[in-house]
């Protein structure tokens, strides 16, 4: 890449493989020896054998074995592995030293591992970084066991996803900091950073392994296989999602987070219809969600509601969806003939109007409806028929706190929203939306009623958000204007974009990441929005198609031939392209 890099590679030359392998062996040895001399550090770091943050360097060191057999992409994969192995080792050694109170507390194993990681990195950087010629995804050999094996792989991938989620969620913030806290620039304290050290190492491991798998083409192969068996994939995914509460052994907090991720993801998938499929930038989406939440809160029978009625939830979910959809039509009908960026501002304006209105309908500065900033609180637990969502259960020897009920409800909502998305995106309507997104003039010229279809997308998105909102009101038990700010809309949008516009897994992954990371990385605290802003800019710069792009979108952003001229046009003129 750079001149320094290539001259370094020339200097190391053919020795790079040997150096990297030697470093990897040293790292493997180091990572099974004890790293810490005091017991406070999480993850059994004082014992021999793998454990805690040491798993990361161990796994990434094993990737070096690829160098023994030249597979396409192996050099780049090992480069990535060595980089992340060094990062994890370095950070963890630093954290041990910091929380122990000096280098004396770092055990010999850590030094061996650190030396190994450094050698591994030096070797890895000497490897040839050039990208191998891209090849179509490989498939399993044509044998009788191929089909079951493919099923197994498909189901296995969802199981791995569940495991990763459960493990990541289960990593607690340790309490190993020193009393005298060193603060970096007033915002992050090293102490807080150290306490999140194990999660940070886990996160780096995930990124490293994902990079290795991508560079070996394994991810592409896997997604090709899962695409062949969508039914198996969906069923396995459903089972994994349903099984989640059984892994938590009565931990209500984790289930509560998972339920919130579910709400967030459902809203993100709904927004994905509007933004990802139809290409309408909606910056006030959370307002529709809020409409649903307020409807549900007001008719929930809560004592703080100004309307003292109670409507069964089965009807409320439709009522909330309908009211939100009505708002969507009212707002969309006059404004949808505007060009895209005007629509963005109109929706932003609507979001603000909603928040201000909810804040003011308190009987003082407006009619009494929403209790103003206090919101509607004490929303009672849901009951459907004779089943109360507030009850704890005990099933198959596992404690299932009441949060599990809400979690499953979320899963049902999420599945409904996902199904709507998937069925629509493959339908005539969905294809028309994509056509409008790509080029509205051309779409209109082929006989698509663009205004009506855009309105449909907008209203449908609003409806789904309203439905998700009614559930959310019962999960968080309160509806306040502060929960429905512009920032929430921006976060939802970011989830869609981060994951990949126009795909369901993208929205799910994006929502999970955006919800979980601030929840787990407490050291970010005040800085999380700052980091979020930077991440948004960087994604648009380097991976505008998101983490899990739809294949069409990926081509759009990265193809060097054919469609590329639409992108290299000067600003404002790309739209004229035929």
């Amino acid at each position: 890449m750079t001149a320094a890099g290539s001259s370094y590679r020339r200097a190391v030359g053919s020795q790079a493989r040997v150096v990297a392998l030697a470093g990897a062996v040293l790292l493997v040895v180091g990572s099974v020896l004890p790293w810490a001399r005091f017991s406070g550090f999480p993850g059994k770091m004082t014992l021999a054998g793998p454990g805690g943050a040491r798993i990361g360097p161990l796994l990434l060191a094993l990737v070096a074995a690829l160098l023994l057999r030249q597979v396409p992409g192996s050099a780049r994969a090992v480069r990535a592995a060595s980089t992340f192995a060094f990062l994890i080792t370095g950070l963890t050694v630093f954290f041990i030293g910091y929380s122990g109170g000096g280098a004396d507390y770092v055990n010999a194993g850590a030094w061996v591992a650190l030396a190994g990681a450094l050698v591994y990195l030096l070797g890895g950087l000497g490897l040839d970084p050039s990208r191998p010629a891209s090849s179509p995804p490989r498939s399993l050999p044509d044998a009788p066991w191929a089909l079951p094996a493919e099923w197994l792989l498909t189901a296995g991938s969802t199981a791995v996803a569940l495991y990763v989620f459960v493990h990541g969620l289960g990593i607690q913030s340790a309490n190993v900091g020193r009393p005298n806290d060193v603060v970096i620039r007033g915002a992050i304290s090293i102490n807080a950073l150290t306490n999140d050290g194990e999660f940070l190492a886990f996160l780096l491991l995930l990124i490293g392994l994902a990079l290795v798998a991508t560079r070996l083409g394994l991810l592409a192969d896997l997604s090709a296989i899962t695409k062949k068996h969508p039914t198996v994939f969906l069923a396995a995914g459903m089972i994994a999602a349903t099984a989640f509460p059984f892994t938590q052994n009565g931990n209500g907090y984790a289930l509560r987070i998972a339920a919130s991720i579910g709400v967030f993801a459902a809203a993100a998938v709904g927004l994905n219809i509007v933004v990802g499929l139809a290409g309408l930038l909606d910056l006030g989406y959370i307002a529709f969600f809020g409409v649903g939440a307020y409807v549900a809160a007001l008719v929930s029978g809560s004592v703080t509601s100004t309307i003292h009625t109670h409507i069964p939830f089965v009807f409320v979910i439709f009522l909330g969806a309908a009211v939100a959809g009505l708002f969507g039509i009212l707002l969309g009908a006059p404004t949808l003939r505007l060009r895209g960026d005007y629509l963005a501002i109109v929706t932003l304006g609507f979001g603000e109007i909603f928040r201000i209105t909810a804040n003011n309908l308190d009987g003082n500065s407006g009619p009494s409806l929403t209790n103003g900033p206090n919101g509607v609180s004490n929303i009672p637990d849901l009951t459907i028929g004779s089943f109360s969502f507030g009850d704890n259960h005990h099933f198959l020897g596992v404690d299932l706190p009441f949060q599990a009920n809400y979690y499953w409800l979320e899963i049902v909502v999420l599945v409904v929203v996902m199904t709507a998305f998937l069925r629509l995106s493959e339908s005539r309507i969905g294809r028309a939306w994509v056509a409008i997104r790509e080029d509205e003039l051309a779409a209109a010229a082929t006989g698509i009623n663009t205004t009506r279809l855009k309105l449909l997308a907008f209203a449908l998105g609003a409806t789904l958000a309203g439905a998700a909102g009614t559930v959310d009101a019962h999960v968080v038990k309160v509806a306040t204007p502060d929960s429905f700010t512009f920032l929430e809309s921006a976060l939802l949008l970011a989830a869609v974009i981060l994951g990949g516009m126009g795909t369901v897994p993208g929205a799910l992954v994006g929502a999970t990441i955006l919800y979980l990371i601030p929840e787990k990385l407490r050291f970010l605290q005040d800085l999380r929005l700052l980091v979020f802003g930077v991440v948004l800019v960087l994604i648009m710069r380097f991976r505008p198609e998101g983490l899990i792009p739809s294949s069409r979108r990926k081509r759009e952003f990265h193809d060097d031939s054919g469609g590329a001229d639409a992108l290299s046009m000067p600003p404002g003129h790309g739209e004229h392209m035929a």
Partner: protein, 307 residues
Amino acid sequence: MQTFLQQLVNGVVLGATYGLVALGYTMVYGIVQLINFAHGEIYMLGGFGALFTYTVLLPGGTPVVLALVLMLLGGMVVSITAALLMERFAYRPLRGAPRLAPLITALGVSIFLQELVRNFYPAKSPRPFPQLVDPSHQFSLGASVEISAPRLLTVVVAVIGMVALSTFVRRSRTGRAMQATAQDPDTARLMGIDTDRIIVTAFVLGAALAAVSGLASGLQFGTVDPRMGFLTGVKAFTAAVLGGIGNISGAVLGGFTLGIVEVMATQYAPDPFSGGAWKDAWAFVVLILVLVFRPSGLLGERVAARA
């Protein structure tokens, strides 16, 4: 009647702030068709730059006029630097990318700048701003309508800025190059205009005017707040659209119109919906109504469908 006139004056003062910021939106939009969402933060940075100049750089006892000039310069330096950096590192790499991409980048830049100031500018929020121009000094405009010194200053400075910009764009060589680029970037490039430089110029001019507005509102309200850019930014964009986006006189007209409408709605709206609590809601209602009934704005021409 007297209340009406007084509110009219208040509306003009408010509109001056919006107009100054709206100019930045309209220039950038006219040339690159980008809603620079982060422009509101540039305005906020102008206020903070001026505050920083006063509290940190200026020695105590600097004459008021000199202090004001230096604060304005300080604010402009900060605003322009930020605008240059965001143009270079956030927007330029995305030139020609699909339309949503730069808008989302703008959102990211906006959040980033806001949080940067909130987290790293010392002292608590909102930050007190020196009252260099005595707000209790009232000028009488006849018929017991009054305007305080800092508000009068705001209007005067805004008008000077607007006239200067309009002269620059119409008379100078660079200004005419800007017009040409806005009309047709391809042809402008063929005529030997360095369009990259023109885009940068638009960002710089917009940032300078936003800094003026930032300083003026600091003097008026006696505080600056990292969050002040968002709402003013959105409203200034409303003003730009109201006037006809891409049109420089339109932005000024739109700013004053929006300021007056907002103040009047707060005063005269039907009962439960009047008063300060509903002020911002009215601004957005105006935005939606304008876009519905006259999307090309007051002075804008009907733009051919660019979808």
